[in-house]
Amino acid sequence: MDTIANDFTINIATANGTGSQSANLILLQSLFDMGVPVSGKNLFPSNISGLPTWYIVRLSDEGYQAPGDRTHIQVLVNKATWADDLAALEPGSVVIWNMDSKMPMDREDVVSYPVPMTKLARTLSPKLAKLVTNIVYVGVLAELLGITDEALHKAVAGQFKGKASAIELNTTALELGRNYAKENFTKGDPYVVEPRAIEQKRFFMEGNEAVALGCIFGGVQLLAWYPITPSSSLAEGIIGWLPRLRTNDEGESTCAVIQAEDELAAAGMVLGAGWAGGRGMTATSGPGISLMQEFIGLAYFAEIPSVFWDVNRVGPSTGLPTRTQQSDLSMLYEGSHGDTQHIVIIPGTVEECFEFGWKAFDISERYQTPVFGLSDLDLGMNRWACEGFTYPDAPMDRGKTIREQDVFDAMENFGRYRDVDGDGIPYRTLPGSGMAPILYRGTGHNPDGVYSEKPHDYFALMKRLKDKINGARDHLPEPLLREEIEGDVGVIYYGSMENTIQEIDDILEATGLKVSQCRVRSLPLHSEVESFIRRHRMTIVLEINRDGQLWGILRRELPNDIVGNVHSVAYSDGMPPRARIYAEKILETIKEVSQ
């Protein structure tokens, strides 16, 4: 039989709360340490214990990180999803299943490896049998696929840092699984793991933790947050790093952390911090942003620096809290009532998560306006290969904040909302300074910050705010382009779609279609995006949502002569993007448009 090396997908079906996550991470890490390009997707329920969860491990020498089109190896432990998982398999798939679950194994057209997982686990620890069962299947997989003991042991040591008893238990369980497979099975499937030389050393990192570290290097001074999936690990990441990075020998911190009573209060605290002259932030998800709308408008109108990280989950409403989507974009861009427009920065890699983490504060203080970091569950909560983080290339930009009396005295015609420099960005003084005190307000105001309902004051203020945000366009993270010289089709995408785009591109290229790519990394749109569209006969906007939110923004903002050249491919079913679905939809759209 010909072997298939490093090009298959493993799907592991377990129940939430059984400890399967640590077993799956050991599998993922050991493959990674063997140099195999691998990605892991945790499809977990909104539940603490008992509901179905799947972990998808994709090995791909091509470097594809999306879940792939099909499962090649199915591990069956969970009775609840057993029948469906089994039925979904293509003929020839591999099934590693727990015999002790007393569930039927009625597929004749698959390669079957029955393992008495529970019994084996019981021999080791009757009490922890459920937990150990998970590590037993990792042992079985290791033997069948050829994962080395060296890689496994390193991964176990990394997972249970220093906890000797846990390391011993897991190592023994791995051996039980490996030995059982060795003694009872003859390899009847083609799938194998081949080690690859590691050219660039990398490590696994979740987007949320990368943002957290970035925020700390951005000098965050207040984290006000309310727990919500999938953003909690971002806030907890900051909390976790503070003792080491931002705390003195007396145990005193330079960053306040307040777990607020709700998202409204979290947003209010962030504004309070910005108003007082500090760097405040919150981390939340779509439902939290919905609750924060009122404060977002206040921050925009009263021009208060404030940073909001939105780790997008599936909406609307409570939606699918543990699934991924890119559906908060338009809400962030035009958050709150009235005419508003906000700066949104959108990382697509963990390295960018770190970079945008610190940059968000600089942008927010520079433009005295709320800045949104838009991540999503896929990027935020899954592990991605990371080459390491780059130190900020410039000192902090604290914007036009006057802190010294002599600087203030030298200023002519100061007014809190006066456009002195012609860039729409006014100067500000801080509470406590005694310099030009005003009563900040969410009501209409004149350039001196005094209440005004006069038509010309309101009109001028709204125009200046628009000019200010417009002026930011080309100073925000620029789009990243991969252009085909001969290509007449361009694809615009953003955020975590970065991890699927290469595979989509390869599928398209196999049909003879070469496309250029433009990854948007900020709103308002950089002027380069329009140029990209002009250079192509047709541009597809690729998004993980239903309505094509970025497409909608483009349609409204592009000049009329090119609006018709831009088409939407938007799809979302809650799953991380699978390349083939999007590639096919791109092809369909091109066909439709060309008719």
């Binding site: 990394g158 490590f203 990192m205 570290l213 700390i216 951005g218 000098g219 001074q221 207040l222 006000a224 990075l245 931002r246 145990g251 005193e252 911190s253 330079t254 960053c255 306040a256 307040i258 607020a260 009573e261 709700d262 409204l264 209060a265 209010g268 605290m269 962030v270 504004l271 309070g272 911090a273 910005g274 108003w275 007082a276 002259g277 500090g278 760097r279 405040g280 009122e294 404060f295 206040l298 610190w358 390491g388 983080f389 130190y391 900020p392 902090m396 003084t429 801080l430 509470p431 406590g432 300074s433 005694g434 005190p437 005003i438 009563l439 900040y440 307000r441 969410g442 009501t443 209440y451």
Partner: protein, 349 residues
């Protein structure tokens, strides 16, 4: 030309005239109780000798929340959004804990839309003075009942209020608020005394000030009308406040005596020292006094509860001594060497 020598302008302990503490002209209804409270704020801040620019004026939305424009013109302020002033104040406090945060709110702000934020600011023992200008009515939207309107209160038009009111002082005491007082907008002396004490308190100081609405809540059947309050107010002993920079200036109302205070409209109010023995450290006694006043359809005023022993939010946050605002950028951003170390640790894990 007068040949009389110019009268010396009276200065406070930091040599500031009272003018340094005043604000712009009020746009509230003529005769509004809130304006009297604004004047008390000016007096208390001046008498306490607080540098005006070291005060932060915070408010939400409503008639009361407009008032920061009418006092302390040299202080920065933030007229935030409806009911959410506590959270904005909390965030500002985290950055600059050295300012005196003076919040002014109304009963719509504090007892309805913002009751959650009020509760949690109390729970955190946030260092601030929180004045509720309580009139039982939504003034800016023209006279709807608020959650503090007493049962039986009747508007000029429409049916009487049948919904149980929320007593913010009782709520605060139950939550463990460390300074709880009630007063009346017409009781300038008592209110000044309470406010001066509240300004020196470390922790959350709530002063619920009955401040009748002259426009929407001043018919005799309303329990927050001038006439009603005037006839039914009972007063716990006045807070004896000792500013740290001057000797004791006692406000004494001996037991069994009473004091008549003239209100802005010329009427007088009799403040009786009916509970000189009230121990502000006794929360049960305070709740009992509130309960008895409620049963007797009266408003009990004075310092109801006080506890200096609880740590305030500052201690809870575990921050460096310097206000975060003054921590240098270099201290806020860890070094490049540190990031290199972290990268290496990840690579070697």
């Amino acid at each position: 030309m007068s040949d009389k020598p110019a009268r010396a302008i009276k200065l406070n302990v930091i040599n500031e005239p009272k003018d340094s503490y005043t604000g712009g002209p009020s746009s509230l209804c003529p005769g509004c109780g809130h304006d009297q409270i604004s004047n008390v704020i000016v007096n208390a801040a001046w008498e306490n000798g607080i540098k005006p620019h070291r005060i932060a004026k915070m408010s939400g939305i409503g008639c009361s929340s407009k008032t920061p424009a009418y006092y302390l013109g040299q202080s920065h302020g933030f007229n935030t959004v409806h009911g959410r002033m506590p959270s904005v104040t909390t965030g500002a406090y985290a950055i600059n804990k050295d300012l005196l945060y003076l919040g002014v709110s109304g009963d719509g702000d504090s007892a309805s839309i913002g009751i959650g934020q009020l509760i949690h600011a109390i729970r955190r023992n946030m260092d601030m003075v929180y004045i509720v200008e309580n009139n039982g009515v939504y003034g800016l939207t023209k006279g709807q009942y608020s959650a503090t309107a007493d049962v039986g209160s009747k508007k000029k038009k429409g049916k009487a209020n049948e919904t149980q009111p929320i007593d913010l002082c009782a709520l605060a005491i139950n939550l463990g608020c460390t300074f709880v007082a009630r007063s009346f907008s017409g009781s300038k002396k008592q209110l000044t005394s309470l406010l001066k004490a509240a300004m020196s308190h470390k922790g959350f100081a709530l002063i619920d000030v009955i401040s009748p609405c002259v426009t929407f809540n001043n018919n005799d059947e309303s329990m927050r009308s001038y006439q009603y309050v005037k006839d039914n107010e009972i007063t716990l002993h006045m807070a004896d406040y000792i500013p740290h920079f001057e000797p004791m200036a006692e406000v004494e109302v001996p037991e069994g005596h009473y004091t008549d205070i003239t209100l802005h409209d010329g009427s007088t109010i009799r403040l009786e020292t009916i509970s000189a023995n009230h121990d502000p450290g006794d929360s049960m006694a305070a709740l009992t006094a509130l309960h008895e006043a409620e049963v007797g359809k009266k408003h009990v005023t004075g310092l109801l509860y006080f506890d200096a022993s609880k740590p305030s939010l500052a201690e809870d946050l575990g921050l460096v001594e310097t206000p975060l605002l003054d921590v240098s950028d270099e201290e806020l951003r860890p070094s490049k060497a540190m990031l290199d170390t972290i990268n290496q640790e990840f690579l070697n894990q």
